[in-house]
Amino acid sequence: MSAAADTGALERALREAALADGLAAGNAAAGFAERADREGLVEVAYSTLDTPLGTMLLAETDRGLVRVGLPREAFEDVLAGLADRVSPRLLERPARVDRARRELDQYFAGERRRFDLALDWRLITGPFRCNVLEAISKVPFGEAITYGEAAARAGSPRAHRAAGNALGSNPIPVVIPCHRVVRAGGAIGGYGGGPEMKRFLLRHEGWLPEA
């Protein structure tokens, strides 16, 4: 056998041995994540949550819930956005978002009508967007207002289009209930998670009749 072929076999053997060693990395990574969290390095913690609508993503900072990813979103992009706009020190830590997970579970099970969660508003930029999302935070379960009303409550009665845009960019959907804003003519209007999801939520809350 030639020296070159010989070396090739050795290189292959080394790589295979390394791959076998690398398989144990899941446990090592879990141990690291736990320690990073304990020592305060994790600035954004996230977890996924299975809901009747599909898998959602919940992300939290030390201030509170900062982002809810809807099933239609690409979570890779959601996480990249959080890394860019909040902090790249971001790890999957389900225990850190336990409370939000529990409250959303209860909401979808029909056992909760309002959320009692600390929210981190840092992804909601600009005073008008803040005003609109604050205004609709006060619309209770089972009710809905129009885009014009949302604009009026935010202090700009004629800005119903801008209000729609503000609602469309809601980083914490469901918990900040932008689905409770509908069109004046009776149509339910658009939704970041898709119209079926909005219909599901409005039915779930009894504003729309069951199908």
Binding site: A18, G26, E39, A80
Partner: protein, 164 residues
């Protein structure tokens, strides 16, 4: 402006296998988990200094440092030294173990620079330029160390059972 850093979770998922394999080849399977934690803790603290073009080489530089620190702590040497001390292989003696352990036990017997270069190249899955970056030497020196290491491994019968 620099490109945004990827989420640390993605960075961890992408590199955890090669980092653990590299550390196992350097300090053995028992102590590798500790060094793994130390490596990623340091990497997460210093994440802003990540070299975006060579992320794995950046990380392996830290991992190599942790492995050297580990050997140093074990040996309780009074003064810091750059080279790895000769310590008993935690993999056991060649011929006693089987599979991956046996091969890495032979690697553990290489001179320090050859051992590091071989581990970085094959367990750490780095290109020669990146091995050089992680070791702070030239690419030529890295290539030479790997080749010398492979030659010695072959001489020690490392592929007696693999070459068939």
């Amino acid at each position: 402006m620099a490109r945004p850093l990827p989420p640390f979770q993605a960075f961890l998922d992408e590199h955890r296998g090669p980092v653990l394999a590299f550390l196992r080849s350097m300090v053995g399977p028992i102590d590798a988990d500790d060094c793994f934690q130390e490596t990623f803790m340091s990497a997460m603290r210093a994440y802003e200094t990540l070299d975006g073009r060579h992320p794995r080489a950046w990380l392996m530089t830290i991992a190599r440092r942790k492995a050297i620190d580990h050997h140093r702590a074990r040996a309780r040497w009074p003064e810091p030294r750059e080279e790895l001390p000769e310590v008993a292989s935690p993999h056991g003696n060649p011929g006693e173990a089987d599979g991956a352990g046996e091969l890495w036990a032979l690697v553990a017997e290489l001179p320090p620079m050859q051992r590091q270069a071989v581990a970085l190249r094959f367990a750490g899955d780095l290109a020669y330029a990146e091995v050089a970056r992680a070791m702070g030497c030239s690419a030529d020196a890295a290539r030479r160390s790997v080749h010398e290491g492979l030659k010695r491994l072959r001489a020690n019968g490392a592929i007696a059972t693999e070459a068939a």
